[in-house]
Subunit: 342 residues, 2 copies
Amino acid sequence: MIIDCHGHYTTAPKALEQWRNRQIAGIADPVLMPAVSELKISDDELRESIESNQLRLMKERGSDLTIFSPRASFMAHHIGDFNVSSTWAAICNELCHRVAQLFPEHFVGAAMLPQSPGVDPRTSIAEMEKCVREYGFVGINLNPDPSGGHWTSPPLSDRHWYPVYEKMVEYDIPAMIHVSTSCNACFHTTGAHYLNADTTAFMQCLTSDLFQDFPTLKFLIPHGGGAVPYHWGRFRGLAQEMKKPLLKDHLLNNIFFDTCVYHQPGIDLLSKVIPVDNILFASEMIGAVRGIDPETGHYYDDTRRYIENTPYLNAETRQQIFEGNARRVFPRLDAALKQKGL
Amino acid sequence: MIIDCHGHYTTAPKALEQWRNRQIAGIADPVLMPAVSELKISDDELRESIESNQLRLMKERGSDLTIFSPRASFMAHHIGDFNVSSTWAAICNELCHRVAQLFPEHFVGAAMLPQSPGVDPRTSIAEMEKCVREYGFVGINLNPDPSGGHWTSPPLSDRHWYPVYEKMVEYDIPAMIHVSTSCNACFHTTGAHYLNADTTAFMQCLTSDLFQDFPTLKFLIPHGGGAVPYHWGRFRGLAQEMKKPLLKDHLLNNIFFDTCVYHQPGIDLLSKVIPVDNILFASEMIGAVRGIDPETGHYYDDTRRYIENTPYLNAETRQQIFEGNARRVFPRLDAALKQKGL
């Protein structure tokens, strides 16, 4: 089985975006604020949006199951207050839940949280509980910068975040550390802010002893870990100067990287440098980079090809990346699959 | 000849830091503000600080000439106002100038600028002019985020920066795009902020048409380009979605990467992915990562070894990276060397 641990519902019916635009207008003028019940998307519309997009590509590319969460760039936690984010998160998570119900063999949910800058992360827990208990979601996306590029929250190692971690540990679910749209003109969302956040999150963990407080906490750092594997020597050296343990012991029981790196040399480096136990297959399609690479004739984000072609993996390690590691990092997914005899 | 294009005066005599601390104290209480004349560092002290550190390692590692600028993390443009930065930049640049005079075969200067958050970059030009005309400096370090991790300045593509670019073009000097200390708790200075800034600067250029306005402007992006080469496919794909020309044509006549990547697989990727014309040798020693890699027994920042060992270069391309490209990107350095018959 091939599990893609990083997919967002980027192809939701237009009605969703229209409702969101009305919600944003309603922040300035409450008269314009739409009711949740005004958003109507039928199962047929959901089915169509998935069958013609993600599911079609999953079949073409040979992946079986996608861990599916709301569109990352649309989380936009910086917009409005906690109530705005809360309503928006509930809507987006419910849509992913419906997709997972419509295609139970192919999609399983991961939750966005109703974060809001300056608001205690504890307020996200109710949505998290609902998604895990009622929807059967297997993970969450945690935004380390709900301000959208102004980085006004404390680092991930701060006790500020501990209530979320306590709940994650209780439920045994990992968090993908994933920012959303940048509203800082310095940072292009998918070309800078996403990658910077990945690097930043890793370094926040490196400089701290977070995983001594939470030995079973698991973070999945997307986009191949930002700059981290490319600068693995730098990070090993920085940890050494700080008298931290080897990264293997200090971080790699808790931190994992996905394979959203859109060219062969990048995946070659990732699979050479990072222990195979810490790499999870992902493509983030249909996402930031949707085109066909003229140098290969294949989609940039068809990351399975790179994994098949890298000389640093064999059949066994490839299978770990495609399936085994995801089942280990997402124990609720593993349990759900086992229940189905998979 | 082997030219290291990225060295900072990280080993300046303690008197410099002591003077700076007094200057910082003087921001809060003007009575404490020291006069420039109170900083006294003798030539012998300078000589000693270089001979026992950078020059010793250059000889051990076989590099000949370092493009030498003030310590990056000490620029700290966020501290105080323009006058504070201006005095501090003048002091630091003068010290680098004195080092270059003491060791003319081994060091040539590059200037830090007296930037200050919210202040027109035009105010940096006088220091730049002095450093080029009087000191014979061959480049500058431009900080895209003088706020120190809050990213409050416009992107590098904004006209805000154009006065600096006009002067750079006039003098035919490149800028290394280099941030300083982060005062944002989210960003570790050398483990996150530096690498993020590299990626951010590249993406700011990618999304703009800056180099149409300045076809001869040259940016050197340090630390191996941050996350950029590792995600080269992502950047190619993003440019393609934006209908930009191929990166080769869109950016690579103007953007160059150094080799401050502290392990073999990183340099392998860099030299495989980025055209050889766009790579300049550098080590940034004695800098962020000063230890010995237990996996190799050699210093992490002894980057020459990685370049010698990578299978993606030959004698000719190696020489380009060691010398030829630096002479092309720093024309004033080339002219100075030629004048010496080198």
